[in-house]
Every structure is written in C-alpha cells, then in structure tokens.
Symmetry: C2
Subunit: 272 residues, 2 copies
C-alpha cells in the first residue's frame, strides 16, 4: 500500500523535484508488534534533514496520521518507507519558495535475512568510494548513487554487506548500515561529519552503551583499525545489530564477542 | 508535452529508482531553428553515464524517435529535457539485473535571459561546496542536491549565476554552467576528474578554441586564478557563452574581452 499526501496512489508527477534532482529525504522504519520502531527518532532526523535542505516540515502531524492509517492496514513485521520531497516547481535547480512537499509512505515485506545473521556475517570491501560533502553528511537524503554503485559490486547472497571507504581512505559505513568496532573494551564508530548517514540504530546503540557504562568514541577509522578490532558489528533500523565475523577475501576474522552480545541483548529490552 | 517511454503521460511510478535514489541521468538540450542542438554529443554523454552507472542504453533508437515526435509538436526556441532512470525494482540499493529503464522527455519554454547576458553578467561565490567523488564526476546524473543548495543561496535576478568551490578550495564550475578563464592568451578550464559536470558546450568551446589555435589547458583552479584572469566566461547548452564581468561583493571586474568575443562569434557559425 502506498499513500501520497494521504491518498492511495502509486504514481508521482514527473515534475517532482525528488525525481528531477533527488531533492528530498527518506526514512526506513521497522513495523513490529504493532509498533513503528523508533518513530520519534526517525521523524526527528527527517526534521533535521528538512532544516538542512530548507524543505517545509509543517505537515508532520498529517504524516503521523497517515503513518497510523497505513500501519492499520499493514501486516506486522513489515518495512515502512517514508519519502518527503520538496515537491514540484522552481526554475531549474532554483527551488520555489512556495513548494508543497510530497509525502510518500509505503509498506513492504521485511527482508527475510536468515537468523544466523544475528550470530555473524561476512562482509566485503567495496571498491566504490564515498565522496566528501560536509553539507550533506549525516542526513538521509535522496542522492544515493554512491550506495547504488557500491551495492552493485557483488551478487553473492552469502556476503551480507559491503564496507565503504571514502576518498580519504577512511572507513565510514556499510552500504546500508553503520559500523562499530570494539577495541580494548571501547566502542568506536566513525565520525560522520564529512559523509555517511547518521543512523537511528547507531544512535540507539550509542545510548545503550552509555547506559551500560561502555566507553564510546567517534573518530576517523581506517582499514588498519578494522584489522586491529576485537569485535566488529553493523547496525540499521531493520537488522538491529549484525556481528561481522569475516571480511571476504582477507585473513580477517572476528568473534561474535561478549560486548556485541551484551549490546544485542540490551537492545532487545530497550523501548523502541 | 511529456513522453514517458514514448507515451504521453506526466506521472511515473513511485517505485522508480530515479525517485528512490536519484538512480539515473539527464540531459538539457536547446531546440532552435528546427534543430536539437548538439544532439549527438548529448546522447554520447548519456551513453557514457549509462556505462558508468551500468544502466542499459539499448533503447537509444527509440529515444531518438521519441525526441523527433516531441520536437514535431514543440515550438521553436524551447528546452528539451531527457531523463533516463534505471527503472523500478531491485532490493534496496541493489539494482535489478533486468530493470527496464524509463525514458522521460519533455519540452519547456526557453528561459528568457536578457540579451545583455551575452555582453556580461554578475556572478556570486556560493557558500555551499561541491563534494569530491571521482566515481560520479563528469556525468550528468540525477543526484543534484549540491546544485539545489548552492542555487538556493540567492534571489537577486541581477546575479545570473553562482560559482562553486569544492571542499579542497578548488574553483570547479557554476551551479548550471562550466567555467573558463582567459590568462595571457590561454584558455583555462577546471579539470573535472573529481567532481563537476563535463558540459557539452564546454567541449564545443574547447573544440572551437583548438580550431582557432587558441591554447587550452585543463587544470585545477583557485580563487586566486580567478582574480588574475584577463577574461572569464561561463558555458552551457542553453546560454552558449556568457562573459562574466563582475563578482558580486568583491573588487573583481573583467572585460568582455577579445578572446571571449572571438569564441562567441565562432560558436555562432559552428554546426550545432
């Protein structure tokens, strides 16, 4: 089911700037046990993105109402995707001042990842590099060619995710997930000020770690840090935490370690 | 008028990856005196973009036929926009192998820039910086938030264009145009290997210069180079060549100089 500005529909105008320029934002939420997980956090990130792109988010209440309508007709264990575009109009790149944003919400089956992913996955290193763009870093905007190109590099379903370096050789994230390393009892995750998406599950993990008195540090990471890590895991709103146990094509293996297990079980008990 | 895969329509599926991820390309052509200017060059750039993004361009013949159909019903002095998206499908960022690309072509009124722009314009320096991404540099893809943000910085119609620096302080291009400097009889234009769009009019100017035995150099440029320039001009497929005579908010002025005039008149006689 798809609702566009509250109406059941499945098409948008060609003139929409979301299509023309990727001029918009999106969120991907898990709908489980009758609940849109981390809804407030997702809407907060969307509001932040709107501020950065100067897109009006005055229809937040309508969006929440529409999400409730959609969820009422959606099977549990689904994915809900929200897209918010600037709408139509303007002259070329110049955005109109009176644009009416387009709210597109849709439900999708939850990807059927095997249960074993919770115990460990194999990842690869992508060749396509993330660019650097502080002005767009952190927000979940619709310009996602970097991720599309990186994800196109492999077909093997046994490789669950690809890690991405940026053009400065920093290890930033997975194509669809954030990265955490455990090193000497400390949790380390890349700084996302020049690129990357500031994930909702990433924030939840950082919060959980703080509550468990596990030290967390945001810093630039390299492949050398990955090799030295005691544990490695990835996060996103659908997968939660996936331990990384193998880097394809390398001698790098990691355990599904204690700290990762601890965070996984902590997250299960946390209010989503 | 809009044709989508050859059919008159004005809406596309929400599932289209052009909307979802900016997963596609576009071209903007001038239609004048019954001719789509530089059509072959535009299609060649699109083919190059398809190769880079691994989008099938097997329907090039259909596209050309559809363009002819559209132009037959379009007033002269119009803008024709072509968008080619990867189409619908795939799992998240992972593109489907059997995607059917979407061809969207549309006609628009030519922007009514005053004739005086041919003698000189005022530009500004944008605050928003271009990122760095060699994998996407040069091609005209649909991830255009950088240009949208830069173009949103000013409203004054007397400022016709904004110049953009990148995150390495290099002067790369305008929001919708390529940049040329004239220095001591030599034509200089930024290298576009790490960002920027490789413009069709840029290529035409470089070709004309070569025919006129004007030396042309592609190199990294900075603001200092701009200040030292004897002449400055911008190019794109709709404007041709616009001399830059003033940088807003600075002491920088340039003449509508001899070399720029020479290239402007040369381009008028060139086969488009």
């Amino acid at each position: 089911m798809i609702l566009i500005n509250g109406q059941p529909d499945n098409r948008i105008p060609v003139t929409d700037r979301g299509l023309q320029y990727g001029d918009g934002l999106f969120e991907t939420l898990a709908f489980r046990q009758g609940k849109l997980e981390y809804l407030a956090a997702h809407l907060q990130r969307m509001a932040k993105g709107c501020e950065r792109l100067n897109i009006s988010f005055s229809d937040k209440d309508k969006l929440e109402f529409e999400l409730a309508t959609l969820c009422a007709q959606t099977a549990e264990d689904s994915v809900i995707k929200i897209m918010l575009t600037r709408g139509s109009g303007g002259r070329g790149y110049k955005a109109p001042t009176d644009a009416e944003p387009l709210r597109i919400i849709s439900s999708h089956p939850m990807p059927d990842y095997p249960q074993s992913c919770q115990q460990g996955i194999t990842v690869r290193l992508c060749q396509h590099r993330l660019g650097i763009n502080p002005g767009l870093a952190g927000i979940k905007h619709l310009n996602r060619l970097e991720q599309v190109l990186a994800r196109s590099e492999w077909d093997d379903d046994n490789i669950r995710e690809g890690l991405m370096l940026d053009v400065k050789d920093r290890l930033v994230e997975g194509t669809m997930s954030n990265l955490f390393l455990v090193h000497q009892g400390q949790l380390i995750t890349p700084t996302l000020t020049e690129n990357g998406i500031s994930g909702i599950m990433r924030a939840a993990v950082i919060k959980s770690a703080a509550e468990l008195a596990i030290p967390v540090k945001e810093k630039d990471l390299t492949l050398a840090d990955l090799e030295l890590a005691d544990e490695v895991f990835l996060t996103n709103s659908l997968i939660g935490i996936w331990p990384v146990t193998e880097l394809d094509g390398s001698d790098c293996y990691w355990e599904h370690g204690e700290l990762t297990r601890h965070l996984q079980s902590e997250l299960k008990t946390t209010e989503r």
